[in-house]
Subunit: 196 residues, 2 copies
């Protein structure tokens, strides 16, 4: 198989991570999401703990800081820049599946990257978060919606407004068809795109 | 196979009609897009010619007319209402593929409808419109973009703002993977959704 980079964005509770892992397993390639942190730590010099704490903290926009020529960027922006470098390095180096981290945006100009989006109806996602992931919440609807909101805000802050827009992806799937079937369909798409 | 209704929305030049026809053929079910017109004519009492002329003419919003209690709706709105009735009748009656006509919106509350969106990069669509459909234009980029705009405006006028948003569909595909492969992937999804 040719070198294959697959990015996966996903609604919270849609099973995107599990789908990403299974795709990587099926294709015999590496899988990254949280695993990126240790690479980002190496690149940025921050500890993994510090990155986890500052990752989602957003201040003024990154462009604003670059524009005013600020010498010291907020930690979250430094982390995003280091993370983008790690993602581009991975792209140049090896076949892999990268879940989240705006990887589709970071690699937006790379035509050979296969961009995937996974979603599911809110009810299915509430059910999966509760009984699949075993997460505790008083109000699962509010919990899932808040997680979605934070994910989209992260994307909009560092990337653009293309989150969840069909034309930003090669394939998008409602995972209610079943996790394994979703994996099969996406692997099928990848193989066709690679001319196999 | 269980009764299966598939709606397809598509960017102009993405090959959506051809894909819809092939899906219908593969599943051995009926295909509708322009063919709906004769059914709409029967339902509305208008001639097909009159429908073609007035179909895309939009005036004040349909809701506005309903709100002010206007007894006489513009022809385009009457046509849309008749068309919605025809689509709902088809849904109740037979397995079929319906391309365009806001069918996904008309059947938005029917969970068993499989909703598909087809898109492709602008360059591929310009190429297909020129050499595939053999349409004549001075500026193919402007031509395709204008057609898209008019399609989206039609959708936004009669339906909602969900056009092209991944979560409004069961599956969306970039048809650059190939028309036949796109058909295969969607048929595969449909069969999985039907529990086959």
């Amino acid at each position: 198989m040719k070198k294959t980079i697959i990015t996966i964005e996903r609604e919270y509770g849609s099973g995107g991570r599990g789908i990403g892992k299974k795709i990587a397993e099926k294709l015999g390639i590496k899988y990254y999401d949280g695993e990126l942190l240790s690479l980002v730590a190496k690149e940025s010099g921050y500890t993994e703990e510090f990155i986890k704490q500052n990752d989602q903290k957003r201040t003024q926009s990154l462009l604003y800081h670059l524009y005013i020529g600020s010498q010291i960027l907020p930690a979250s922006d430094m982390i995003f820049i280091a993370q983008s470098r790690v993602i581009k390095d991975l792209y140049n180096k090896e076949s892999c599946v990268i879940v989240g981290r705006c990887a589709d945006y970071v690699l937006r100009d790379c035509d050979d990257v296969i961009k995937v989006f996974i979603h599911a109806p809110l009810e299915s996602r509430m059910e999966r978060v509760k009984n699949g992931y075993g997460e505790k919440a008083e109000n699962y609807k509010a919990y899932v919606q808040k997680k979605d909101k934070s994910r989209i805000a992260y994307f909009n802050y560092f990337a653009d407004d293309s989150w969840g827009r069909a034309d930003a992806y090669d394939i998008t799937v409602n995972s209610d068809v079943g996790i394994d079937k979703t994996v099969d369909i996406i692997v099928d798409y990848i193989k066709a795109k690679q001319g196999e």
